[in-house]
Symmetry: D2
Subunit: 387 residues, 4 copies
């Protein structure tokens, strides 16, 4: 198997990020099958054609059913709005296509379980887009934990802080509407932290949360345009129906304590996706705004030189790094997708499920909903209650 | 009023810190009454005499009742173990002495309320030792918030991380025994974060928490010696009866969301007493390990130069700083006590209650117990339930 | 003009970096002519074909003369070893091809002047590869200075620190041989700092330097392979003929004082290309290991909140950033080349010389040689002595 | 020997800093003889009496000759203006008093040599106030180097950056007048860096420097008041006769290369006294604005976790730290003097010369003057030329 033929649905922020990864992969990672950018799919013909030309796809389709029906496509990449994931994925699975689905897998747990079952029944390969796992610094964290170098884990402290909607005049974009986005900061940002915790610490056992919508009404924009919409002071107002911030406490199956927070109301934090892990032998800190760095501490360092080390994860000793540039030459956010794609292509060539896959999407969704339930019912909720 | 005659009970860590403040105050802050170090009090005559000579107290008493009975003492400084605070404070109040009491005010809310009432009834002045308020960087945070420069507060995120008992062979010192210490990381460390939150954000409304004792048994030390006890591998084991870590979520009366964590199981953190506050106009970050620094962000900075500023709070524009050294010449942890003492002496000379006083001690204790109750009953607890 | 047809000579580290930029440009910057990757050129047919396929070039040439002779090529990209730059550039200019030449322009000033004159006489466009200018954070530094927001510049302090040859057993690769590399840390690393200083501060006036080769002999490698060669303990030794470290002081024409250092003997610094500029109204700091960040200080900030701001140059207010990802989503080292290429394509479409061009290559070389001369003659050397 | 009776001449910034150390020493370091604060000396009776009372000296003298003549004084502490050091020191030595002299030892090398000879001939003990050596983090640096843990030293890079005179309206205080101050940033700030380099790296061999006075005239203040004088826009102007900034390159006797810069024109740097040392086995970084921290890197750390460690030098493993507070509880700038005094008292009790002593003062002065000479004659100057 030397090539995988891809059809991608969606061409906005994530469509651009995925396209970039498809283009980069064969140049930097010729060890895995090459993705062929066969077709891009979207509803607006004009915008679609522009994206096709700019991103470098061979062809375009305006109906995703047509895309799935094509027999020159092996893999369906779903990065359309979240509310469309399920229908597309079920159809793709039915057609025997492998699936690369952006997170969140679906708008709710039931849907995501349905997607997982469909994929499993169809015998296809499936990956869910928790790209942050694939930063070399995060891979290093995983390696240190897996090798026991941090010891037994006591604490996981995860934050995802943004500030793009702090201004009350920021408009009521689709991300602030529950029927389209499914969730606010919790599902959009918190989901990444939950996946990170599962990746590094293990399964959640029980949770209790709290959430708030600080700005309850916002100007309705004339055209919906994702993150970049401009507000209009005299525009009519509509209700914000998702959370601005959600925090929760957690107990992990392995005994660790967790604290997780996602907010879009943290001025000065453009994209602070950060965590700290404390274990019996050491600690680890990561901040996505410095995506190439990991802070590491070991309790068994000599007593006079104990301290967090700032490790720049660009050395040959670090995952993926040798494919890129010499030590000290950093890579950007975008290549978390390239590495994610590497995992997908490698798994396809090895005929195994890639990781993270729909199981992880379902597990993440279960935690999200357990938190929601805990907020609604003001009590601790065990993850097992939801499955 | 040019002098205040002090009798101090306790001569360990806090006794040393207070003594240092008494010695430093008149040199750097001659604007307030000078504390006269009349007598130090403790039970062990030998250790007491050594402390007296080393710290510079005029005389020593081995019975605190004798100290309180002396008519050449205006102010009783209580930094004996927490379980002795109440009895001493009640006696001091009854004798009409002003009181400077270390935190925690008492082992439980009921006791602290009793202390407050006794002090109020006696008409004395009282201060409780939340010294971290008095770092110039923290004072700057307070000023920025008070002046509205951070706007409406949305988030308070507070941590107090230490690592001195991570080793399972660290012995069962008194701080790990509930009957003496009252509480573990929660009461010892979390109390400081709670006070910081009250100082900067306002009153707590409701809380829900979680706690854990990771190491349930430890070697019994031959002699109890605070932080520095050495473990003995073959020593018999005894149960740890306080929490190693306590986390909680909170809602503030003003609408902000809070997340607070205290743990002694965070390797690499010798004393990370840190917080971040996000408001509608900006953010503030503080970490006690860099006690002279405050990180500040403003949303109305020019769009191309927005970013957290590292402010070194050693300029004439910063509280207390002009009394010390030129800009850029940092001061240490110890002078949070000197500034705290300045507030006490100033309040005495102005015949007003100092801040923070027993009201703050009570309020902090109420939050601590609300958290305890929330852990025990696994539900949200309103602070008002406890008063 | 919608396309520029490119032929590239060289396919190692820089060939890879350039290829990546050619691939990325049209996707992220469709506003400029698209570079067509017509042909790649190198001497080893096998390695060349692998690079061609991996990097995505249409064809390959093993003789650069054949490449230049092709009439389907508009632009010659020279990133062959430094000692080949001149001959190729002269031929390309003679053939009327535009030139994108990696730094150093040539092995010495005389050669670089000859190249500049040939290019000017031929009326072609020419760019020299000082890619670090094109980091958005550096562009922000330039903007702040140009707008007078830093005031009159007093100090430039530039460092380029690496550590890849600290081990005495690191072999005698071509970069350590004067006849091929021309220079050591001075020409390789210092050249970047000199260009940065010229870009931000202006022309150098006079310099005095010092240099050292700490490890005078190294094992001769069996095969020359750039940075990654492995040493062999029993291999015969050969002399290192370039500098391990070079430092110099400088006076700028505008009155600023400069201090510049380049070394490959700074353990812990994989690629610290950093500078600080102090002016009458503020200061700027940059470190390439955190390529997305600029530290900025303004003297007219309010007295109580003065401090260096950490600006993440990923906002719409920052150069190039809107073409990439949302704020806070960093880019990597590699896109300094993409932006450099953007300047080249834009200049070609506007029929103007791109910047930096061969004039800048010559000016940089003049400073390098003035430093060399100052070291040899142990005296201050004016840049004007060399032209 | 349990007590040393001290007479101190000077009561401004350094007088305050020394007094603070005399008061702190016996409380925190009862292991060494206790300094008795017998007498303080200054010319203005009113200011002197205020200082005496505030700092806690037993008596006051307005003529330093009277102070030296007293037979109840063992040690003369000289922190009067630099131009008075020599005369006082010669008299003190003649009277057989030990001497603690602030830096600079004298206004020039000849004077400082004379002082050294007088002290040696008199058989007294002498210490010169290079207090920065005594930060625990700097002591750790020294220890790591002495134990060979950094290997052979290749580079020393030292900066002392301040910004208090960047405003051109800052008045012409005595520090800006050569006849009183002797030197500007070079002698005031650079001297500290030179001493640090000598302490950590060893002797200087040759130097070449550059200096500048950016603001050549300033308003004459009505009253001379050190750092804090306020400017008057309409005041007459006078010439600044010292350097605003001085930079120099150096070669050390041990083969290391040095770069040293002192400036008062670095906005944002209140007191950045920083250095970095690179050796064959690791690197060390220090910044006085974070006086409790040392950054340390080791080449032999495991390949995947190499990085600078941030060591908080407050553990029992660090010099002086056990005398203070628990780990993580920082100390301030001021206690570099307390530790310096500890060395002096310890040396007196052990009947040996303290370090640094007048030999170090002379050696530092020689380097300062070699730099001056190199600037004047625009050539490399060997330190040996001056002795």
């Amino acid at each position: 198997m030397s090539k995988i033929r891809v059809g991608m649905i969606g061409y906005k922020f994530m469509g651009k990020a995925h396209s970039n990864a498809y283009r980069a992969l064969p140049m930097f990672f010729p060890d895995v099958p090459k993705p062929e950018m066969k077709a891009i799919c979207g509803r607006d013909p004009e915008g679609l054609e522009q994206a096709r030309a700019q991103f470098g796809w061979e062809s375009a389709e305006t109906d995703w059913r047509d895309l799935i029906a094509r027999d020159d496509i092996d893999l369906i990449d779903i990065n359309a709005p979240s509310d469309a994931h399920k229908e597309i994925a079920l159809a793709a699975a039915a057609a025997g296509k492998h699936i690369f689905c952006e997170k969140p897998l679906a708008l709710n747990l039931a849907d995501s379980v349905e997607m997982l079952e469909a994929a499993e029944n169809a015998g296809i390969k499936h990956l869910v887009g928790f790209n942050y796992r694939f930063a070399p610094a995060v891979q290093l964290a995983k390696k240190l934990i897996a090798e026991g170098r941090i010891g037994k884990i006591y604490h996981f402290r995860g934050l995802f802080l943004q500030d793009f909607i702090v201004d009350p005049e920021f408009p009521l974009v689709w991300r602030l509407q529950k029927e389209i986005a499914g969730s606010g900061s919790h599902g959009d940002l918190g989901a990444h932290v939950i996946d990170m915790a599962r990746f590094l610490v293990g399964e959640f056992q029980e949770v209790i949360g709290m959430s708030e919508t600080f700005i309850k009404e916002r100007p309705i924009p004339s055209a919906m345009t994702g993150l970049s919409a401009k507000g209009d002071k005299d525009a009519p107002r509509g209700p914000v129906t998702v959370d601005d911030a959600t925090l929760f406490l957690a107990r992990f199956a392995g005994g660790a304590l967790g604290s997780i927070e996602a907010t879009r109301f943290a001025p000065g934090h453009r994209c602070t996706n950060s965590f700290e892990i404390n274990g019996s032998k050491g600690s680890i800190k990561f901040d996505f705004e410095r995506v190439n760095e990991l802070q590491v501490y070991f309790t068994d360092d000599a007593p006079d030189v104990q301290g967090f080390r700032r490790v720049l994860a660009t050395d040959p000793a670090h995952a993926y790094s040798e494919a890129w540039w010499p030590p000290g030459h950093t890579i950007g956010y975008e290549h978390t997708f390239t590495h994610e794609l590497h995992e997908l292509m490698l798994a396809l060539s090895e005929d195994r499920q890639p990781v993270p896959n729909f199981h992880d999407g379902v597990a993440c969704q279960a935690v999200l909903e357990a938190v929601d339930k805990s907020i609604e019912e003001r009590r601790w909720v065990s993850i097992s209650e939801l499955r």
